[in-house]
Subunit: 361 residues, 2 copies
């Protein structure tokens, strides 16, 4: 069993992985709220739609303190399945990878230190207008990416955005990338039609058509995206001019790749996606199909996480395709294995996840 | 001429300097506003008392963009002498040392990325109550310090706080450290009596006596300090558990040493002060006299900056003891020389300061 699955472009990954081996990256997790998450049936990142506002903050608190401060317990799906922050925390802990939360735009701030670029929480994209100050925030984030590239070997960028796959579909559609049936979901049954309807409603409201903003991704974010996107793509572009960047996430990172590739195709050779096996195995979404429309050369790596042998049903549920990814889980698992030069196997990460979960329940 | 003056404890500095040589630190500049700065005659960090609110933000913008966004030009004293951010920027530029602004508590935020811990702007200490949420902010900052210590060889912490020497006197007095005649000033004539009166008025208002908080520095900050102090001392303590920390500043860093030494004497062997020759030469203040009361082992290094041969009067004025230090100028000059393994001499930094200044005027 291989711990890191090289999904595509193995020529590139076999060239890059040895370079990253033994190196410790910096992990930045970009978090945001969007009202889109509160549309019933859209997000499982919270026990109910209203509480999704707390999910990104609580995820960051869990990563920082192994304990949430803004909510009791940890973020769960409506079925009680715990946040992927459990995976991220276990992997970060084993390798001492430093992390810091980055604010996209929030209603509820984490009780942790954070980096901020002045972004505001996002609106419901079905109303046709989504994110404020995109240009400004993007520029600051890009400058910051260049700054941190001076010192790190590479960086890993994760996200925690309830409703974020719907806003990803919004941006991808505005960019002219066909993704209606390719976007993942934290729910076990992907509400594909609902997401499509929301994006269509948004486009109707702002009188746009698919592909209208194929040359203007920042406008696409403004109209149909979320506040994580200008920050994450800005940091990625700023840093990828100098160092490798792992986009740690699922199909949301497909949208980020679309944004980056349109804004600055030159940096794309320093961009990789790091995700989980559950995203790659997901029949209801198609990350590779998204990436192939952007640039098939963008390497996708997947952490071979497998919870099927776990004691706890809350974790076993991941094998049924619930949650799947988020909070940089896949990318940080990969980074942790790489940083340890293989000393930390996926098996050790599995054990750590289970023992951390045991402490929670 | 030596570029880095080892002011005291040369046994320690000769041990540490070779360890830092060739290493690039991370520079964090902690900025804050305090109403104390608006007391007439107290601060030269701004052309008039009201504009001191803009000084920290503008300093950060200058470091980031070589251009301020929140104000026209750059921060100047009432006599038109420019901010020490000029020195810091020149040194950072030459060595590509990464930096990020950190918010202590502000009325005016910089138009840059920043790290934040939830601190609020500070009140006028003569009213007897100065800083909110000190405990909370300190804890977050400390945790963050531990986090960044995972990846950097060492860090440099600077400050930009108009009115900050008066709040330093407040904290030092509350800690029982005699500093009435030892605190520096950005003004060429140090308003020693005025500062003393302000602190006395504050103590009268909160019914405390010098030394009352010698075991409780966070309470000292709350009553007589400024919002930079819990953040800077928190990051310093968190980081100094693992890596060396240069406190880049003048007598304000004396107060920080007092706070750190009281809260966690174990980390003090990883703490150094990096300042400018102008602070060491200053007859109206006595950084060494402050440090000797805390722990004479804390090494003080001074950048041998000398503007006497400069073309421009605005810069030459530094030799008359105006401004002297701030925005991490001395410590970053030292770090830049160290990082370059001596390739970058103080002479090159002088030239860069002059050419950057020429662009401004």
């Amino acid at each position: 069993m291989t711990d890191i699955i090289e999904v595509n472009n193995t020529k590139k990954t076999q060239e890059v992985l040895p370079i990253l081996a033994g190196k410790k990256p910096f992990f930045l997790c970009v978090i945001a709220n969007t009202e889109t998450a509160k549309i019933p049936g859209i997000s499982a990142a919270g026990a109910n739609p209203e509480i999704t506002d707390y999910t990104p903050a609580a995820d960051m608190e869990y990563l920082y303190y192994e304990k949430c401060k803004s909510i009791e317990g940890v973020p769960i799906t409506p079925d009680g399945i715990p946040t992927p922050a459990l995976i991220t925390r276990a992997a970060l802990e084993l390798t001492s990878i430093p992390m810091v939360p980055v604010i996209g735009g929030l209603n509820i701030y984490p009780q942790t230190p954070y980096i901020e670029f002045g972004g505001k929480p996002g609106s419901d994209i079905s109303l046709g207008s989504a994110v404020k100050n995109v240009q400004e925030v993007f520029q600051l984030a890009q400058r910051f990416g260049t700054e941190i590239a001076k010192i790190f070997h590479y960086i890993v960028l994760g996200e925690s955005v309830a409703g974020g796959t719907t806003t990803a579909l919004g941006v991808l559609t505005a960019l002219g990338i066909k993704a209606d049936d390719k976007i993942s979901s934290s729910l076990s049954v992907n509400p594909v039609d609902l997401k499509k309807q929301i994006v269509e409603k948004g486009m109707k409201a702002n009188r746009s058509k698919p592909g209208d903003f194929k040359n203007d991704p920042l406008k696409a974010i403004e109209l149909l995206g979320d506040p994580m996107q200008p920050v994450l793509s800005g940091i990625a572009i700023g840093a990828a001019k100098h160092i490798p960047v792992i986009l740690a996430g699922g199909t949301q990172m497909g949208a980020i790749c679309g944004i980056i590739h349109t804004l600055n195709p030159n940096v794309i050779n320093n961009i990789m996606i790091g995700t989980t096996k559950w995203i790659i195995d997901d029949k209801s979404s198609d990350l590779i199909g998204i990436i192939n429309q952007i640039n098939p050369e963008i390497p996708i790596l997947a952490a071979n996480l497998d919870f099927s042998q776990f004691k706890y049903d809350g974790l076993k549920a991941y094998e049924k395709g619930i949650v799947k990814e988020g909070v940089g889980a896949g990318g940080i698992t990969i980074a942790s294995i790489l940083a340890s030069n293989g000393d930390i196997s996926i098996e050790k990460i599995h054990q750590k996840i289970e023992s951390n979960y045991a402490k929670l329940i």
